[in-house]
Subunit: 645 residues, 2 copies
């Protein structure tokens, strides 16, 4: 290689000025990165062939991209892989996990010996990445989610922590059909995330067919540019082009960069290169050995000693929630003006946010309905308008959580259905996100079923590690915000639209996994469990039934998951084994079934009033009556149950 | 207005050639459309003020667009509003419902008297449109879904029925932040849907804030053009510009058209025009009267007699499923080679599709895993590759269903979580879609939790009008396809990845709402309910337990919703009141709770084995054992339960 004069650079090293031949140095670096790419391919083939499953061809197309990132571009400390000031990497195309694992082993983050345990039940190296693995920020593997996580990571660095770390997200071309990718694209440019750099591995081939755009890089350029991104098109197997693109991206100001990398699926695996039909298939043993031999021949340098990961690398640091001072008590009192739980949520968020700087809030263009605008007024720098794009809102919350924030993301309960696949992945990753759904149930009234959250409890409680709280009054709503913030892990809070009376004193203590018994006597003949609006219907029914000489025990469920099986069981035992659960939610997956499942071993008579058909528009009172969850419905049902038994 | 020579056109009317002054005629038409727009505004204000809620300002921005469409551009027969050859209109910004209702009343599809019953429980005119209203194709109101429905309608017309009708979709600008819109955008251009014309009502203001792009029409042009659409930017309050754009759109070949209409939110309501803070608020009575007086002054022509809708307009035609010949029987027999239910699903679809031309299939780039490729091989013209974009896949299925097709849309069960908000809206609209989720549960093995459907039953069974079937062997899988096709309304089929033994004869009859009792004796001490892979674990446990002298009754649940409470109750009564449900699904919302709820009144001892924590990678057998749903786990649990009672 010839060197022109301009290749010589002067650099000061200590007291010395040294002339460097830059192109020779760069060529040396390029050789090293190409060698490493070959090694990443070898590892990916070996691991998947040993596992008997996996996606080597999807690893192969991105080997140079990952090599350049991990061994030249990114700044991170392998001894502290979860340091939030490391540059971050999100593998949105999670099925290329073995490539990432190999890079982490090369970098000395995980032991090399783990690689051949890929996909085994005794290994942390699962089929798709999870944060159980050091350096991994979020669980991926459901395509089209990584860029939103990247938005959250980059938002935290640029707009909250103001740190210099950069975020890199590697996407597959097939996954750019997912709308969530375009939600993230719009959001990243809206927030000017010039610390975010994404790479699209354009290998032309989806699982079952070529992608829509194939190798038409110009088509991708038009789309990403239209969404406000700088684009750089490169040969994704040319490390020099990649390095140059990453450098350009790092200098870009005011907008994110997308590196469009033209690649070949199966690159380096002779039989598979650029061919369909190999997605998600390990290479047969013989072909694998042959491919590995060919790849080994490509390696010029000597293999450096594999780095040993420091002993601390895998240690999970237990996060501690930091309150500057005691979280403030709710400013409500029984007998005062009725307050909607959604409003108390907003007020609590604003107040509690003042004593914890990690609390950040995201909203999907309904902040005047969810009352997150109250937080925004007090803490505008920690509020992010995410517009009508719920998937990206939840994904960005996952990214913020990975940076140590406590993100509360709110919209109507029903619209969180939009983000259910993100919710599922947040659960898999154990992400510390707090989702809040307002406007639960038919009690929203005239807007009709499209705006009613009637399956949100089914959604969230199905995820076994979600905390699910359902406050009924302003005091419990306020406390639910504090409980969600204090607990490390994913949480969901269900809030109601109409105003409800305040029933708890401001000092009342609430706990996850504990219900409240509101009415109790020695003569109680049945336990009635309610939550949200139905708790007040139950209280009305209690009065009505007392007039008829029927004493009932009234329970405010509050904590849907975990559920207070102990108190419930005691109540039911004391009330003739009878329990009636009333809820403003569809029957399946609601609190009726939660109570039924919790009490199964006690064989109670569990009856349930719930919404059992698709509702419609009407006034809240009309609808609660029409769908059988009003005080009147409760009275009738209790009388019927007592007659029957 | 001056007329140039070129304004004169000769037209043949019967035997006469008549010279028309086109510009005068067009001016006359424009006056009429402007008058109608004013009337639509008046109706929208009146209806929402009377209802005390609603979105008049969102109606006002689109009044000219709807006027031009309904009274000049669209071809439809008001006497047959649900004729599939009418031009179709989808109001993606469903909160502008009163505007649509007013247009339908003006057009003579619904009675004008209904308008003032808006949002009342006794009216079909709900807060957001549903197909209960004639001419409405799908429930809207969750933003960002309408364009996908439009894709389905236009696919049916262009690629299946080859009819000349056109599809129009009106979107709000705020909702274009939803990724689903861009999934639909990519899909529409991929399929060359030149019979699809969308209109973006760019009124600049979201619910809580201005939108990201405001009135920057050029920004929208770039995005839509980059996604392969023809764009036409117009003043959305200028009917002549709108008419000209619709004409241009109708002549466009090979790609869809997006009309970018610059509008003002609240147009025609003096206090609100182009101002924030009025979203979703009815106009106060006095301001409403004033606005109406001002709008009335804009009307030049006399009000034409309101058309009376024909008596038939609201009649719902009961759809009948047409089999050309008897649906073929499954080609499997007990004792033969094990077959995965997902494969039997694909084979059934291909075979049953041959005797019913209405069956169409959509897949999200996993056709070689869901086996829908078997249908594609036989019926390529009825197969649509929807790539990795599940929301659009389900939305397009809704559009196809509205055209009388029976769409089966398949992907991995877990990825249907991506489309849960569409599922919810399909339930609200009672859409005749058939969703199929393969790769359910931990039994998929090494790919890990991101690919495991463990909450799909919770999702689908929460929707009260979904049929949910969960076949265990190839014969029942085959029959489940037929049952889903025959039943009008939404359905979900859950399929398994691993091969399972064939246990039913090809002639075995299956029904929705009926389970199968597979092992039964007079000595049975407990009923064990399984489905999918766990049924075979239950059968193994049955054998194992028999060796220990413990007789068990084995039930194949098959139909999760409706559930066979009668048979289950009889079994449980005959087996000492004991039942154990075993499932490859999370505990909450799964078949355990379904059985528990169905039997609640009988107070059985319901025990459940289910996946109770986030799983991980491993072999199917290891995982089923580790998460406690294997034959071994069943044996241990049964012994424990019998000891305890």
């Amino acid at each position: 290689m010839e060197c022109s004069l301009t290749d010589w650079r002067v650099k000061r090293i200590g007291r010395w000025e040294v002339q460097f031949n830059m192109s020779a140095l760069q060529e040396e670096k390029a050789v090293r990165l190409r060698d490493l790419a070959a090694r990443l391919r070898i590892d990916s083939i070996q691991a998947t062939t040993a596992a008997g499953s996996g996606h080597p061809s999807s690893c192969a197309s991105a080997a140079e991209i990952v090599s350049a990132l991990f061994f030249s571009v990114m700044r991170f400390n392998p001894a502290e892989p979860d340091n939030p000031e490391n540059d971050a990497f999100v593998l949105s195309k999670g099925h290329a996990a073995p490539l990432l694992y190999s890079a982490l082993a090369e970098a000395g983050v995980i032991p090399r010996e783990e690689l051949l345990k890929l996909r085994r039940i005794d290994s942390i190296l699962e089929g798709h990445p999870t944060p159980r693995i050091p350096f991994v920020k979020a669980a991926t593997g459901s395509l089209g989610q990584g860029l939103s996580v990247g938005v959250g990571l980059a938002l935290a660095a640029k707009h909250l922590d103001r740190t210099a770390d950069r975020t890199y997200v590697l996407l597959g071309d097939g996954e750019s059909a997912e709308g969530a990718v375009w939600e993230a694209a719009a959001s990243a440019s809206h927030y000017g995330l010039d610390n975010l750099c994404a790479i699209l591995d354009i290998n032309r081939l989806g699982q079952s067919e070529p992608t829509m755009a194939g190798h038409d890089l110009a088509a991708y350029e038009r789309r990403w540019q239209a969404f406000g991104w700088r684009t750089l098109s490169v040969d994704g197997h040319d490390v020099e082009q990649l390095l140059s693109a990453f450098e350009t991206a790092a200098r870009e100001k005011g907008r994110p960069t997308m590196i469009l990398a033209r690649t070949l699926k199966g690159k380096g695996i002779p039989e598979e290169e650029d061919k369909g039909g190999f997605h998600g298939k390990p290479v047969e043993k013989e072909a694998a050995e042959e491919a590995i031999r060919a790849l080994e021949r490509q390696i010029h340098g000597r293999a450096p000693e594999a780095k040993k990961p420091p002993a601390t690398a895998q240690a999970v640091v237990e996060k501690v929630v930091e309150w500057r001072s005691e979280p403030p008590a709710p400013p409500y009192a029984p007998g005062g003006k009725p307050v909607a739980t959604r409003k108390a949520f907003g007020e609590a968020l604003a107040a509690i946010g003042a004593v914890n700087q990690d609390i950040v809030v995201l909203d999907g263009d309904v902040k005047n309905s969810t009352y997150t605008e109250l937080f925004q007024e007090k803490h505008p720098e920690r509020f992010f308008q995410m517009y009508i794009a719920e998937q990206n809102m939840v994904g960005a919350a996952m990214g913020l959580a990975a940076k140590g924030k406590i993100p509360f993301a709110a919209t109507f309960a029903c619209f969180l259905a939009r983000a259910y696949d993100f919710v599922r992945m947040a659960a898999i990753g154990g992400s510390n996100i707090k989702l809040v759904g307002t406007h639960a149930g038919v009690s929203i009234g005239e807007d009709g079923p499209s705006q009613m959250g009637l399956e949100d409890l089914a959604m969230f409680a199905a995820q076994p590690n979600f905390l699910v709280l359902y406050p009924s009054d302003a005091v419990s709503a306020w406390r639910s915000v504090q409980l969600a913030a204090e607990r490390i892990g994913p949480a969901y809070l269900r809030m109601t639209r109409p105003n409800t009376p305040v029933i708890y004193e401001d000092g009342e203590s609430f706990q996850a996994g504990k219900c409240k018994v509101l009415r109790r006597s020695g003569d109680d003949r049945i336990t009635i469990v309610g939550a949200g609006v139905t708790l007040f219907e139950a209280l009305k029914a209690h009065k009505e039934l007392l007039k008829k000489g029927i004493a009932t025990r009234i329970v405010d469920l509050f904590s849907v998951q975990p559920i207070d099986a102990e108190t419930l069981a005691a109540c039911v035992e004391e009330t003739g084994g009878r329990v009636l659960v009333v809820e403003d939610h569809y029957a399946r997956g609601g609190i009726g079934e939660a109570v039924g499942a919790a009490l199964a071993q006690y064989r109670p008579r569990v009856a349930s009033l719930a919404v059992r058909e698709i509702p419609r528009s009407g006034s809240p009172a009309e609808l609660m009556d029409a769908f059988g969850i009003s005080a009147g419905s409760i009275v009738r049902k209790v009388e019927l149950l007592l007659e029957q038994s």
